[in-house]
Chain length 308, copies 2
Amino acid sequence: MFTDLVRGADVLVENFRAGVLGRLGFDADRLRAINPRLVYCAITGFGQTGPSSQAPAYDQIIQGLSGMMSVTGTEDTAPLRVGFPVCDTIGGLMAALSITSALAGRERTGQGCFLDLSMLEASVSAMGWTVSHHVIGGVTPVPAGRQNATAAPSGTFETADGLLNIAANRQSQFETLCRLLGREDLTTDPRFAEREARQRNRDALDTELTGALRTRPAREWERLLPEAGVPAARVLSVPEAVESGQLAHRRFFTDVPFPGDATRVVRTCGNGVLVDGQPLAPTGPAPVLGEHNDQVADLVTRWTGAGR
Amino acid sequence: MFTDLVRGADVLVENFRAGVLGRLGFDADRLRAINPRLVYCAITGFGQTGPSSQAPAYDQIIQGLSGMMSVTGTEDTAPLRVGFPVCDTIGGLMAALSITSALAGRERTGQGCFLDLSMLEASVSAMGWTVSHHVIGGVTPVPAGRQNATAAPSGTFETADGLLNIAANRQSQFETLCRLLGREDLTTDPRFAEREARQRNRDALDTELTGALRTRPAREWERLLPEAGVPAARVLSVPEAVESGQLAHRRFFTDVPFPGDATRVVRTCGNGVLVDGQPLAPTGPAPVLGEHNDQVADLVTRWTGAGR
């Protein structure tokens, strides 16, 4: 039955510990022999090979081993956890990207492939300049706190009533910010006039800017600064974030029936992309256990009957 | 010239502010008219439509608006920044996934499409149970600190000489952990015997476990616990993370020549997947400015000459 399923499948995804599917009689070579067009993706914490390949992993384990916890937190509190299962997400996204790439590539070659996905590697690759500054530039990353280390002013600031992110990374954005804050004097202050100087003196700069930012509420700055081209927005809680008018306009959430109970709904997220103007949304509820058994059996019969 | 390029292209990716490419004469409809097979992906902070579509955005802005900062940090220090540009990464990954999916889909339909990617939406969708617990379960997310809220013991613990992540999410893992720590009494303690009780009493449980964990160094626990099936690993700095023997075994890093200076090298990351056992690595350095001008011009000539 499993052989028949493999014979008719485009994609096989599993996340057993490395080697488990092989011990069940279906390693990558056997799967390829059954169906040379199969895209087989195995997702593990560390990959199918290497000294850690047999170690168990969850998101938290990979957060620690990738170095991402070490840069999350303040100088006093790091290492801290990224507050959502970011390594699970990035591992899954990279797996999906690999699979769709392999499917597109199969159209040219006619061949499937074996995708050996490591959550640890996907996570390190996702860290961008935090890793490249170190491996190329020799710069040791430090805990980020609320700052973006690549530019100043770029971080989280206090206002009259709440926290505001400002990312005035470009010279023109810095000058506009100072003008809107009534602190044009800062643009000619030798401590702050040039980009590199601002990074060296970022604490002093933040103190000067915060004095002015405290004169108005965050919502007001959130309107004034972006209108003038300075990226700025409030720091929202999750409840505030999901109530955003922007997400509503984009129909980001879709309510689907609860599996097996049509009187309840499950609110599901979109995935960030509109295709020809339309959000992608689930077409129905997740299946209940065994719901598709008959359809799967029918499929297998058809594939087997067709001599595939 | 741009029209000729579009005519021969499979994919067009841009990240102008929403509407800019349209004002330059190439909105999605015009691009489709030029090349119906084109996959056109526009990446923006907030998407092409809606009240925020014209607002400027960088990673930090999206970290704040998505709610992910609100769950990152300790109770006292949140909201904090995730210490790497996670929203840039997730936006880019989701764009790449959308594009490769559209290319695979085009093989069936013969048609391209317009992919309107919002970094904000991609980021919220990446937050997993942090969002779903709220929008489905009505649970308000709290700052994670060093804990994984979905289970206990699951978080970061002190040892004799450094921090250790432990994710003993399953009952069997908890029992194994207690045995290895010489604290089997905890498995029958009414405060800790059941999963829900452990979550309610996680602070007390962490105190009990830490007492035992402090008797050995982190490296020793990192060997003992995973061998017995309990996910555990040290919390590494970025320099420690990139020196990992596992990454070396998997040939995660590749040195490519520095663009325009073959005497230097640039160390590049893999992307987390081995394809048929081989890492994906750049085939050469990034181009210097204008390096491919002639080749692009040749391509255009060929496409134009072929009457496409």
